[in-house]
Symmetry: D2
C-alpha cells in the first residue's frame, strides 16, 4: 500500500481551499482581488531589499532572513490560491513556460547576457 507524499503545489492548493472555505473567504477571493493581494506581498518582500546593494541582498542578517522567508511563503500562498481560482494547473503551466523560455533564450545566444528576447512579430 503506497501512501506517497502529495505534490507540494497540489497539497497547498487543497489546504488553501479548506482554509478559505472554513472562513467563508471565497467571496473575497476573486482573481482581481487576489492579484492585488499578490502584488502587496511581493512589495513586502521588496521592502527588505530596497536599500541594499545587490551583494548585501545575497547575505541577509538572520532576522531579515526570517522575515523574508515568511514573505516568500505569502507570495506562494496567494499565487497558488489565485491559480486555483483561475483553474490553472501551476505545475503544467510552469513546465510549459520552461519549454517556451528554452526556445526564446537559446544557450549560445543568451550566454552571459541579460538582454530580453526580441518580441515576436506574430
Amino acid at each position: 500500500m503506497s501512501t506517497a507524499t502529495p505534490d507540494s503545489l497540489l497539497a497547498l492548493r487543497d489546504q488553501l481551499r479548506v482554509f478559505a472555505a472554513e472562513r467563508a473567504w471565497e467571496q473575497f477571493h476573486t482573481p482581481k482581488n487576489l492579484v492585488m493581494a499578490l502584488s502587496v506581498e511581493v512589495a513586502e518582500l521588496t521592502e527588505h531589499f530596497q536599500w541594499l546593494t545587490p551583494e548585501a541582498s545575497a547575505a541577509l542578517p538572520p532576522d531579515t532572513q526570517a522575515f523574508v522567508r515568511e514573505e516568500l511563503a505569502d507570495v506562494l500562498l496567494y499565487l497558488v490560491r489565485l491559480a486555483d481560482q483561475l483553474k490553472v494547473d501551476l505545475r503544467m503551466a510552469a513546465q510549459d513556460k520552461i519549454v517556451i523560455n528554452a526556445a526564446k533564450y537559446p544557450v549560445e545566444r543568451a550566454r552571459g547576457s541579460s538582454a530580453k528576447a526580441p518580441r515576436q512579430s506574430t
Copy 2:
C-alpha cells in the same frame, strides 16, 4: 524499481538552476534583481485584470486565460529562483506560514471578514 515523480517545487528549483548555469545568468540573479523581476511579472499579470470587474475577472475569455496562465508560470519561476538564491525551502516556509495564519485568523473570528489581523504589539 520505482521512480517516483519528484516534488514539483524541488523539480522546478533544480531545472532553473541548470537553466541559469547553462546561460551564465547567476551573475544577474542576486536577490535584489530577482525580487524586481518578480514584481514585474506580477504586474504583467495585473495588467490583464486592471479594467475588469471582479466578476469578469473570474470568467476570462480564452485568449486572456492563455496569457494569464503564462504570467502565473512566470511568477512561479521567479519565485522559486529567488527562494533558491536565498536558501529558503519554499515548501517548509509555506507550511510554517499556514500554521501562523491559522493562529492569526481563527475560524470563528475571521468568518466572512476580510479585516486584517491586528498587528502584534511585540
Copy 3:
C-alpha cells in the same frame, strides 16, 4: 513686487533635494533603489483597496481616506525624487505623454472602451 508661488513639482523637487542632503541620503538614492521604494509605496496604497469592490473603493471611510491620502503623498515624493535623480523634468514629460496618448486614443475610437491601443509595429 511679485512673489509667485513656485510650481508644486519644482518646489517638491527642491525640498526633497534638501531633505536628502541634510540626511546624507544621496548615497541610497540610486534610481534602482528609488524605483523599488516607489513600488513599495504603491503597494501600501494597493493594500487599502485589495478587498474592496470597485464601488466601495470610491467611497472610503474617513480613517481609510486619511491613510490613503498619506500613501498618495509618499508615491508622489518618491516619484519626484526618482525623476530628479534621472534628470527628467516631470512636467515636460507629462505634457509630452498627454500628446502621445491623445494620438494613441483618438476620441472617436477610444470612446467607452478600455481596450489598449495596439502596439506600434515600428
Copy 4:
C-alpha cells in the same frame, strides 16, 4: 492682465478630467482600477532597472532614458488621476507628508542611515 501659468499638478488634474470625459472613461476610473493601473506603470519603469547595477541605473543609455522618461510620465498621470478620483489634493498631501517625515527622521538621527523609523506604538 496677468495670465499666470497654472500649477502643474492642478493643470494635469484638469487635463486628465477632460481626457477621460471625452472618451467616456470615467466608468473605468474607479480608485480600485486606477491603483492597479498605477502599479502596472511602476513595473514598466522597474523593468528597465531590474538587471542593472545601482551604478548603471544612474547612467542610462539614451534610448533607455527616453523610455524611462515616458514611464515616469505614465506613473504621474495615473497618480494625479487617482488622487482626483479620491478627492485628495496631492499638493497639500505632499506638503503634509514632508512635515511628517521631517519629524520621523530628525537630521541628527537619520544621518547616513537607511533604517526605517520605528513604527509608532499608537
